[in-house]
């Protein structure tokens, strides 16, 4: 995002403004699906690790579209909500061009998430996207996908969910997704949107995973802004979903045994029922754990760390907060403060071991966030408790659509290092460092 615009770069390589949804023009002789039919299947290893890439300057919605173009998606179901609508209408354009085999506009998110669950049970590759209130409306269904062991990729372009109603960026909805048993990635920018979506399908469908993947990003900042995205040639696509690979059989009536109630209700009031459900939950979360190796393989790790080794202070952030933090690191360097940056890519599974290793020597950890509750600060504190003596500043936090001035982050780094009291972060959001500061620590632990 900080990269300068190169003069020879086309600034709108996708052609029409992203709101354009006109059906592809059908010329008398040209098959509208011609290009899609020419796509060649390549292995995920080639796609992610070897295939040459070219750079385009596109929005996050367009990046998601380009990922779907190469993802061999069978069924996509759309429902409008700001700031997601562009994404699913661009996927509709792909349907018109034959890159996506089946597509419709659902009735609302409860129905959409149900139909996605039906499609995944049928054994086809499914994709949908929603945001904010749509996420919460669909959450009953979304939260049931992991238990039903449904490989799906869903995108969440985060926005305000609380009253009063607003459409502005705020990633509070991620905190609801963290406890579903699904895999959750947080994209910093357009490139992440592209990469995480493509990799999401492959990870989601691994036999020892067989779970939905949620790709989150901060609405508007990523969806509506342009950034450089390095992409593989559009003539290649991922292999199709192989339904027989799943950890549980798909419901296509092709599998004996006959009495196959994959979704058997286990609600009897007896020990066996409790045990079955308990074991099932353990297995879902074990599958989340097993996805780590694939995240390392296809995405290059659950986090990225920059200048962390000899830094006295570290910023830990995800999503758009990571982009702002990167600029804060640059300003701190100008002021002579050595500070590192850890960007969390995968929130579920969470990079606990990695953070313990990286934060062992840090004196100060600053966790800026785009939400009120500070879910990432709590995740970080829980992960490194007992492994780091760093003072953790759970802030600065912005919400309700506010942007995050880089200076806010720099202030926390400076005040954290000097011991000066911060005016932006409440004492209750600060943990550790001074053993005498029991009161502050107590506040923090209570808010966990």
């Amino acid at each position: 995002m900080s990269e300068a615009l190169e003069p020879q770069q086309k600034t709108n390589p996708q052609g029409d403004p992203i709101t354009s949804v006109s059906a592809p023009k059908v010329e008398a002789k040209k098959d509208p699906h011609a290009d899609a039919k020419q796509q060649k299947v390549v292995t995920p290893e080639y796609m992610f690790l070897e295939a040459p890439r070219t750079k385009e300057f596109i929005t996050g919605s367009e990046a998601a579209k380009e990922a779907i173009r190469r993802s061999n998606v069978d069924l996509a179901i759309a429902y409008p909500i700001t700031p997601q609508s562009e994404t699913m209408q661009l996927v509709g354009v792909l349907y018109g061009e034959g890159y996506v085999k089946e597509y419709y506009r659902g009735e609302e998110e409860v129905g959409v998430m149900a139909a996605i669950a039906g499609g995944s049970r049928a054994g086809v590759r499914c994709y949908t996207a929603t945001a904010g209130p749509g996420t919460l409306r669909g959450l009953e269904g979304i939260a049931s996908w992991p238990g039903h062991r449904l490989p799906v990729v869903a995108m969440f372009t985060c926005r305000v969910v609380n009253a009063p109603l607003a459409i502005q960026p705020d990633n509070i909805e991620v905190s609801y997704l963290l406890n579903c048993g699904m895999i959750v990635f947080h994209a910093e920018n357009q490139q992440d949107m592209y990469d995480f979506t493509l990799a999401g399908f492959v990870i989601s469908e691994k036999n020892d995973v067989t779970l939905p993947v949620g790709v989150c990003c901060d609405g508007f900042f990523v969806t509506h802004a342009r950034g450089y995205v390095r992409m593989q040639d559009r003539g290649m696509k991922l292999p199709p979903r192989e339904p027989w690979r799943g950890a549980v059989p798909v419901l296509d009536a092709e599998n004996p045994p006959a009495r196959l109630s994959r979704d058997a209700p286990v609600q009897k009031s007896n020990f066996m029922a409790y045990n079955i459900h308990a074991v099932w939950q353990q297995e879902v979360w074990a599958a989340v754990e097993r996805s780590r190796k694939y995240i390392n393989q296809y995405m290059g790790g659950l986090l990225t760390a920059e200048n962390v080794d000899d830094a006295e202070a570290v910023i830990i952030a995800s999503g758009s907060a990571a982009a702002q933090s990167r600029e804060a690191v640059r300003i701190c360097a100008e002021k002579g403060i050595k500070i590192g940056l850890i960007k969390i890519r995968s929130l579920r599974p969470f990079p606990t071991q990695e953070l313990r290793k990286l934060c062992g020597k840090a004196k100060l950890i600053v966790v800026p966030e785009f939400n009120y509750v500070g879910w990432l600060a709590k995740e970080v504190a829980t992960a490194i408790y007992g492994f780091s003596n760093a003072k953790i500043i759970g802030g600065p936090r912005v919400y309700g659509g506010q942007s995050m001035p880089v200076e806010l982050i720099v202030d926390e780094v400076e005040s954290g290092l000097t011991g000066k009291k911060s005016t932006n972060v409440a004492m209750s959001q600060v943990m550790g460092a001074s053993a005498a500061d029991h009161e502050a620590m107590g506040h923090f632990m209570r808010s966990i």
């Binding site: 419709y104 409860v110 039906g118 049931s144 045994p257």
Partner: protein, 299 residues
């Protein structure tokens, strides 16, 4: 799993699950059975935990015998009594979330069509009156407006039976039930009319005390849904517990209700008639031969 393309390798029959072999050797897989043969073959639904005298269970048994292709049928349901029996059947059953059955069935039937093309994979939704007309209402109506190609069957016992007897949208006006302490204050929802307005190709009402009729309407509904569009069957399946119907009077009650508010009705579009006639050889929709002109000598 169709027997047309999956054959047991010789010598391996005994390694197939016993229940599957039973379905092939003594049950309806790969051959036609009829309700008139009940008791002489192994049914798709045998054991179940339903109450004694439950008319809903009888209806579900009949419906499953009527499925034209049980080995390639997937049922979808939601919370309620019905799913306790449906989930025990020898065909796959999707038990998703509350009231999401028609949404799930939309994705499922589209996904199966993508994978199997024209080879029939019948999707049949079976849910209660609460699941269909209350909590699932929006997804039910929208699936019909979208002309999703699967069958919706409402098991209408006019009450929330599984949760212990609360009023539903399909309860009759005036009925005193839990959550309707002064009696229900509005009419039974007219889902039949809504099904027609929403564009269903086939709509029928039925009661379980006429097995042949149940068989006939279910078959037609499932076949039409393969190509023409949505089909809807509304079945009266009394709850003898919540409505305190003595076990030996359940069929009598069904007869009374049939005469009162559940008269047999069948609505079928011309397209569906033509489809059944041309594709499956149905004769009932052919033009009736003209009556002989009066006055002609009888030969």
């Amino acid at each position: 799993m169709s027997l047309d393309y999956v054959k047991f390798s010789s010598g391996f029959e005994k390694f197939m699950p016993k229940e599957y072999r039973d379905m092939v050797e003594h049950g309806p897989f790969g051959k036609k059975v009829s309700v008139s043969q009940m008791g002489s073959f192994k049914e798709v639904l045998e054991e179940h935990p339903m109450c004694a005298g439950c008319a809903m269970t009888l209806f579900i048994r009949l419906a499953m015998i009527a499925f034209p292709n049980p080995e390639d049928t997937i049922t979808v349901g939601t919370a309620g009594c019905g799913r306790l029996a449906i989930s025990q059947a020898a065909i796959p059953f999707v038990y998703g979330n509350y009231g999401d059955q028609n949404g799930v069935a939309s994705g499922l039937s589209r996904g199966l069509r993508l994978r199997f093309g024209d080879k029939p994979k019948d999707v049949v939704v079976m849910a209660g009156d609460g699941g269909t007309a209350d909590i699932g209402f929006q997804q039910v109506l929208h699936s019909w407006f979208r002309k999703e190609r699967f069958t919706t069957i409402m098991l209408d016992n006019e009450v929330y039976g599984n949760t212990g007897g609360q009023e539903s949208g399909m309860t009759n006006r005036g009925a005193v039930l839990k959550m309707a302490p002064l009696g229900k204050k509005f009419e039974k929802m007219d889902m039949l009319q809504m099904a027609k307005v929403a564009g269903c190709a086939y709509v029928a009402t039925v009661v379980p005390n006429n097995p042949r009729r149940v068989e006939s309407v279910i078959k037609k509904a499932v076949l039409i849904a393969r190509e023409v569009g949505s089909t809807y069957i509304q079945a009266y399946t009394s709850c003898n517990i919540e409505y305190a119907i003595p076990t030996d009077k359940v069929m009598e009650d069904a007869k009374n209700v049939e005469n009162d508010r559940y008269q047999f009705s069948e609505y079928i579009t011309d397209e569906a008639k033509q489809f059944l006639t041309e594709r499956y050889g149905y004769k009932e929709f052919l033009p009736k031969p003209a009556a002989p002109a009066p006055g002609l000598p009888k030969s």
